[in-house]
């Protein structure tokens, strides 16, 4: 390459560098969980950073999956996330299946329940973690108003998204509250109970298939919801799948030689077989 050509290359590189330096920087202000309906509950269509969010609901109402979706969104941006696991129930393989980058997820399991809120405050205030999940389920911890405000303040100062997972019997105070409720087989309902930024009362129905990476194929399904109140006599009202339609659904036979049809339990339980 002669001198003129190399000078031209240098000049082109210089122009490119100047263009890159002059380009506006992008800053992360919110997280998109990519769960249809959930993001739309917030102004701007995404979960804003710097806020404390409470997901309050019964067990198996989809709170943890929603929180892990937010953690996965942080991981997609190359950010760090932390999960303060009070009940020690987080199952990382499931989190990985939900898209969480486990290399960027710090799991903290304090020994004493009293350290849970303090740990979350430290993680949020540091600003090193974009998303912090505080799981208070099955811990017996109920946050008072002062602790809730301290958590919200830490999230605001650190620019983190703090997600609290609480049971209905011990909700937190001083934070944005969303309730989750399983609605039969269709999915879960998320409703905004309290939000100073507006949007209280908004609801969204989220299908299980948008939360789970591999939604189960139910082979036995009740035809209709039973009436409220006392359960009637138990009958086997399941619809057997039609032959050739759904027989081998689910995970059955995915590993030849090991997954086989389950033998009936009826003889061992003393029940009659037909």
């Amino acid at each position: 390459m002669d001198g003129r050509a190399s000078a031209a290359v240098v000049e082109r590189l210089r122009e490119r560098i100047q263009k890159l330096q002059a380009a506006p920087r992008t800053y992360l202000l919110s997280l998109r969980t990519q769960v249809a309906g959930f993001d739309q509950l917030f102004p701007g269509g995404a979960v804003p950073l710097g806020t404390a969010l409470e997901l309050c609901g019964e067990a198996a109402s989809g709170r943890t999956s929603l929180a892990l979706r937010a953690v996965a969104a942080a991981g997609r941006e190359g950010r760090l996330a932390a999960y303060v696991d009070g009940p020690r129930e987080l199952y990382p393989p499931a989190a990985a299946a939900l898209g969480v980058d486990l290399r960027r997820l710090l799991v903290v399991q304090p020994k004493a329940p009293g350290q849970l809120a303090w740990t979350a405050v430290q993680l949020c205030r540091s600003g090193a973690f974009t998303c912090v999940v505080l799981d208070l389920t099955h811990t017996g911890v109920r946050l008072c108003l002062a602790e809730g405000k301290k958590l919200a303040d830490a999230a605001f100062r650190g620019g983190s998204l703090l997600i609290l997972l609480t049971p209905p019997e011990s909700p937190a105070d001083g934070v944005v509250r969303l309730s989750t409720r399983a609605v039969g087989l269709s999915g879960l309902e998320v409703s905004v109970l309290r939000n100073r930024q507006g949007g209280a009362g908004a609801r969204a129905l989220i299908g299980w298939e948008s939360l789970c990476p591999a939604p189960p194929v139910f082979r036995h399904r009740r035809p209709e919801a039973p009436p409220e109140g006392e359960l009637g006599p138990l009958h086997p009202p399941y619809q057997r799948p039609k032959s050739g339609v759904d027989r081998d659904g689910g995970l059955c036979r995915s590993r030849p030689g090991r997954d086989c049809q389950l033998p009936s339990l009826a003889p061992s339980l003393g029940l009659s077989t037909h």
Partner: protein
Amino acid sequence: MRLCYLHLPRFPVQRRVVETPSLSKKPLALVEDARGVRRVAFASAAALKLGVRPGMTLASARALTPELAAFDFSPQAERAALLSMGEALLAIAPAFELSAPDGLWLDASAAALCGGEEGLCRRALEICSAFGYRARAALASQRFTARAMARYGERPIEVVEVYESAMALSSLPLAALEEDDSSPLASLGLTTLGEAAALPLGAVVARLGAQGLRALRLSRGEDDTPFTAEALPERIEERISLDWPAEALEPLLFALKTVLDRLGARLAGRKRAAVRLVLTLRLDPAGEAELPLSLARPSAQPKLLLDLARHQLSDLTLDKPIGALWVRVEEHCEDPGQQLTLGDGPTGDAALEVVLSRLCTALGQESLFSARLLDRHRPEGGFAPGAFRPPERPSGLAAEALGPLAPPPDGEASLARPPRLFPRAAELQAELGEQGQILSARLLGKRRRVLAMAGPERLCGEWWTDSPFVRDYYQVHLEGIGPVWLYRDGDGRFYLQGMFD
């Protein structure tokens, strides 16, 4: 072989001044015991101006300069300090050899990477300057030539070409030879190496023997002494003693910065990064306190290490002052380096390190981990805790230019697993239909209908151990709760293991 000699004039004195800046420009002497008499081994420039000379007794020196500050000279400590200096210089040279107490040779075979031989000398002086030391450098093909030029040359940087050693040495004083070599030549009235080199070889050998021959060959730039690379110590440790026991944080941090600067340079020279360090404080008059420092991302940056240590020390309460401190690297790994991008400065993850350190101190190191997936069939053994070492995040313009990150490895993304897995599976009272299907289950104090069910998924294994297992897993949608994960064990009972929360 090309060698670079780095001469640090009065290195022990310089080191003392670097560690105690208040001694700068003051008369200072390092004394050693010689046959029961305390004699001056090294003196500072201010002391030399006042007439203090090496070899003088301390009493005589004090008579000349009453304000002379005297400290003990420890050859082992000086050698260790010189060794750490050499390790820091490994960033620009593949090997070094000590010439205690005030110099070292560097292997200059990689000078091309530093912009040539003069560039290598300049880089070496810059590293010394970063440590607070003044130095001179000379590069030649022989050990003696490089050493003599560095010690007695006119310029701070001297580069002697391959066949020009004799000419370069000719103007140097005869004192450039070692004392044993120069004394017989000095008795002949010679003053420079050039005069010695001009003597006839046979006559010198006949009169002065092997000693004269050696002196003559050195004067002519002929030195075949091999270069022997110094072996690096396995333990990476730096220590410092405080002149006065420190009762406040500020003087302690000042000493700590000096120590961590050296430690960081040593690690950088070895291309290593610290993972775990231990800061030991020796209390005055007795006792010790140890502080572990753990890093999430291995680093050799002194600033980051200092931030971490400052945080640890600010939470520490001691009932005695601190007389000395040392930092030991307990675990280190290869330094992956930090890719700087346009518009970004070399800032570390100080916030991350500080919060991890704080949590480690308060909760214990075992409470913080990063999960690592394992290839196990047993669900509860599907992961193991590991150290939290997050990968670097591309920042600034690089992040914008490179675009989104690659997705993480999928793991068992194809399988549906509950986000909540109970540490111990709870036995479930289930009611079965005639075909063996689950009709209802008692959970949370109520009997709940099964709205839908998927499965079974048989997981079995570990038949080669004492605790084999065969389980049929079901995803069951319970009325009023939601989907749960339960299994039927080999004993026919049902157990609730997780929830699709």
